[in-house]
Structure formats: C-alpha cells, structure tokens
Amino acid sequence: MADQREETENGSAFVRRHRFSTRVWHWVNAATFIVMLMSGLMIFNAHPRLYWGQYGANHDAAWLEIAVTPRGEGVLNVADFTIRTTGVLGVSTDAEGTQQELAFPGWATIPSRYSLADARLWHLAFAWVLAVGLLVFLLWSLVSGHLQRDIHITRREWRVTNIWHDIKEHARLRFPRGEAALRYSTLQKLAYAAVLFLMLPLVIATGLAMSPGMDAAWPWLTQVLGGRQSARSIHFVVAFALLAFLIVHLAMVMLSGPLNGIRAMITGWYRLPPERENGT
C-alpha cells in the first residue's frame, strides 16, 4: 500500500494508501452493487417466494415468502415463523401516500414503481459490469501483488489468539494507528476476502444458474448449486450477506474517521493517524 509518503509541516504523514485500480473498482463496484440490489429487490417482487430444488411455484412449499394476509397485513414467512411487516414488507405506502401491495417497498427498488421488465433491463446490464469488473480487478490485483500483499492472511494471522485480539480491538473501536494503520487487520482481510472470493463469485454464479440459456450451455453450474430454485434462494441470501457487509463496512468507515477513509479511497492519500501517546 505505502508506495509514497509526504510529511506535512505539522508532522502528520500522508501516505499513498490505495492504488488507482483499487479506487476505480471500489466506486464502480459500489454503484453497481446498489443498482443490482435495488433492481434485484424489484425482480423478487414479481414472485416473492423462495424454494429449494429444481422447481418451485405457487403450489409448492416456499421456505421464505413475503405475502399479504386476507386481512391486508404484510407478513414475512420464514419456515414456520411469521413476522408482521406492514409498512415495510408486503404492504407499504408510496411517496404519494397510496397504499401498495409490494414485497419490497418502492423506496428500496429500481424502478420505484412496479416494473419487472425495467428492473431486468437494469439488473442484467449491470450484471456485466459487476462480473467483468470483478474479474478484471482480481486479475489486476494478482498481477500487481495487491492480493498477496494486502489481502493474503498469513499463518500468524490465522491464529485464534490473533483473531480474538482483533475482535476485542474492533469491539472497543480501537483502530490501528501509526504504521499499523497501513495494513488491513485480520478481520478486515477476512471480510474483504469473503466478499472477493466467496460472496461476489457466488452471487454471480447463482445469477447465471437461473438463466435457462446458461443452464443449457453450462448444466453443471445449476446442478452444483442444487437446481434453479436453490440457486435463486442462494442468490437472495448472498445478496443480503453483501448488504450486511456494506452496512458494517459503512459503520466502520464512520467510526474510524470517515473523512480520512473516504479521501483515501477517492484520492489515494491517507493521513496516518499518529501513535497513541499514553500507551494503552
């Protein structure tokens, strides 16, 4: 990460933290993920039920369902549990104050008014940006050494004592300072590695497995994932795992100095937080 550094007059150091390729991919991917999530929620609205296996439709048992009860209440049914969700899931009110029967409300979807065709137009075009962007970024990061240098988790870091220490430091909101702030912590590495090598590839693979054309071209993919409806369920679960990552990621940025962090991801320059003076 630290290719170059500059000392300012008051003694704080500015360091080149993120490469150009990392910064470009970060922002392209951030915008793409938001579009994929919101257009994906609209696509889900067309059939707000999830199944396991090869097939699944209204007459088959769903493991997750967002529905409207005969009494007009919005509910989320997961396995045998029912959660009343009127106002958000199932039944919600749009910007004009009109009550809408939609699984996910208009404020969470692209477009905001029900249109499966338009959501697919967005989702399936931006899917190319997501997949090609990830592929190019991973290849480039391998060639440039970013993965080996910054994401690779060493044997020492895999130790339980180290991970436990890292969890405690995070829980106390004690973020690394000085030179240590230039390296990702173990939890950060784990989170980024999970996104790069597990969640994004899985969300792309399950998306491909839902396509009947891909199912003919690559039948093994749908089979490995347990069938089209399983692939659709996994796609949905991983999308929400990515959303959970995004929420934690944003919270960490806010807590660890948002201006410095965001500036570093835009310009590349990161102000090195000075070492703590009074020990612990």
């Binding site: 059939h47 439709a57 003919a216």
Partner: protein
C-alpha cells in the same frame, strides 16, 4: 465537538443522497430513452455469449418423471374467449388448422392429426418463468423444424413468428424466435402435456416449447406460424407482445 458535528452532517448527507437523489435519479434514468438504449445493448451480449459458451445446439436439461412438479402452474391467459376458438373446443379441434405462411415455398394448413402424424419428440423439461418460478413438465409434439421443412423456408426468412388465439384486451398474443432456436432439436409444437392432450390453460391445442428461453417465449394457442425477414412491421417491431407492451427482452435466455 467539531468532529461529531461533521460526522452528523455527513451521515445526513448520505441519507439525503440515498433517499433524495438516488431514487428519483434512477427513476429519471429509467425514463430516459438514451439510457434505456444503453441498457438494451446487453441483450446482444447475452445471446452471443450464451451461444458462444454452449453452442447453437446445446440442449436444455431433461428430467425424469419423478422429478416433475406435482402441479404445473398455468400463467398468462388461461382461457380464450374467441368465438371460433370456442367452437373448436366443442368439436375437439377436429376442424382446426395451423397456418404456416409468410416467406415459405409451400404455405400449409395443417390439421392437428397432421402434427400428430409427424415424428414425435418427448421431453421432460423445466419451464422457467420470467417472474422467477419454475415448473417441470412433460411435453410431446413434432419438432418445429419438421413443420418448417414441410413448408420450405425461402432464403430471406430470418425469424419465425407465432400468432395466437388468446388476447390481452384487443391485441392477440404473438412471439418470435430466430432460426437457430427454430431448428433446435428441443423446439417442438407441443400438443400433449404430462401424458394428456394439452389443456386449455396451457395453450390447447398447440403451444411452442423453446426450452432455452423463459416462459413468455413459449407461445400458447398457436393459430398461425409466419416466416419473416425482419421483425420490423410486426406490431410494435420488438418481436413479441410483452416486448412491445413492457420492454421485456426479445432474447429471453436470461
């Protein structure tokens, strides 16, 4: 203190950005013809990449009888009001004829028995609806290619259009595929489903099965098959009822 104020205002900014700019921004983009045209370019990528990866002849997966859906959901129109169609229902489609015309050498008027006399293909396949659900069912009928060979395509023919007896309001349903899918071995004119004559809800007497594409391509209640050089001039010019009405992709392999 200044730091916390900064944090607050930034948080508020993010909220305003997300709620106040993002959504109307996306809706505005969604309504922009230029932006939609950019998004629509992906359709060509979908078709070319899938055919590149699997080849033009890649077969959709076929299942065994015990993997079939217990109930096969009927979708779209499930009843046809057309008076001529109702008369055919009462006579068991005895006088029904399938027209094959357009850019063909020998226009045809085929009775149901004529389709049944052709070599039959049986396939248990998964029907994938654009909405996200799937059902597995068993289909039987002649290959579309056999019917097209009877009529003999003229050299200029590029698309096969299916005209249907069901209507949405005043507009009859229609769909179209290109010659790669028309001559694909699993593309059949199904008149049997799950071991019985095709029920009305599923498109009696004959529906299209084009197994590598989504459900809306599988035109039901087919009355006429037309070979064309181009989709321009066919209703809205996008090649299908849902494409013209709502902007769904013509290539529905995704």
């Amino acid at each position: 203190m200044s730091d916390s104020r900064l944090r607050l205002s930034r948080r508020r900014l993010v909220c305003i950005g997300a709620g106040g700019l993002l959504l109307p921004g996306c809706d505005r983009l969604n309504g922009s013809e230029g932006f939609r045209q950019v998004l629509e370019q992906a359709e060509v990528l979908h078709m070319r990449s899938q055919r590149l990866l699997g080849g033009n002849e890649a077969l959709a997966r076929e299942y065994s009888e015990r993997e079939m859906s217990p109930v096969f959901r009927a979708n779209g129109n499930t009843h046809v009001a057309d008076r001529e169609y109702r008369r055919h229902v009462t006579t068991g489609f005895a006088a029904w004829r399938l027209a094959v015309d357009g850019l063909v050498e020998r226009p045809q008027l085929l009775p149901l028995a004529g389709l049944q006399a052709l070599e039959q293909r049986n396939q248990i396949t998964r029907h994938d609806c654009v909405e996200g659900w799937s059902a597995i069912g068993k289909w039987q009928g002649p290959r579309l290619s056999a019917v097209l060979d009877l009529a003999g395509l003229q050299p200029g023919a590029r698309y096969i259009v299916f005209h249907c007896a069901d209507r949405f309001g005043d507009t009859p349903y229609y769909e179209s595929i290109d010659l790669i899918d028309a001559f694909h071995p699993q593309t059949i004119l199904a008149w049997r489903m799950n071991g019985a004559p095709l029920p009305e809800a599923h498109g009696a007497p004959v529906r299209l099965r084009v197994e590598r594409q989504l459900g809306y391509k599988h035109a039901k209640y087919i009355t006429r098959i037309e070979a064309r050089a181009s989709l321009a001039g066919l209703y809205g010019g996008r090649g299908g009822y849902w494409q013209d009405k709502s902007g769904y992709h013509w290539y529905a392999g995704v």
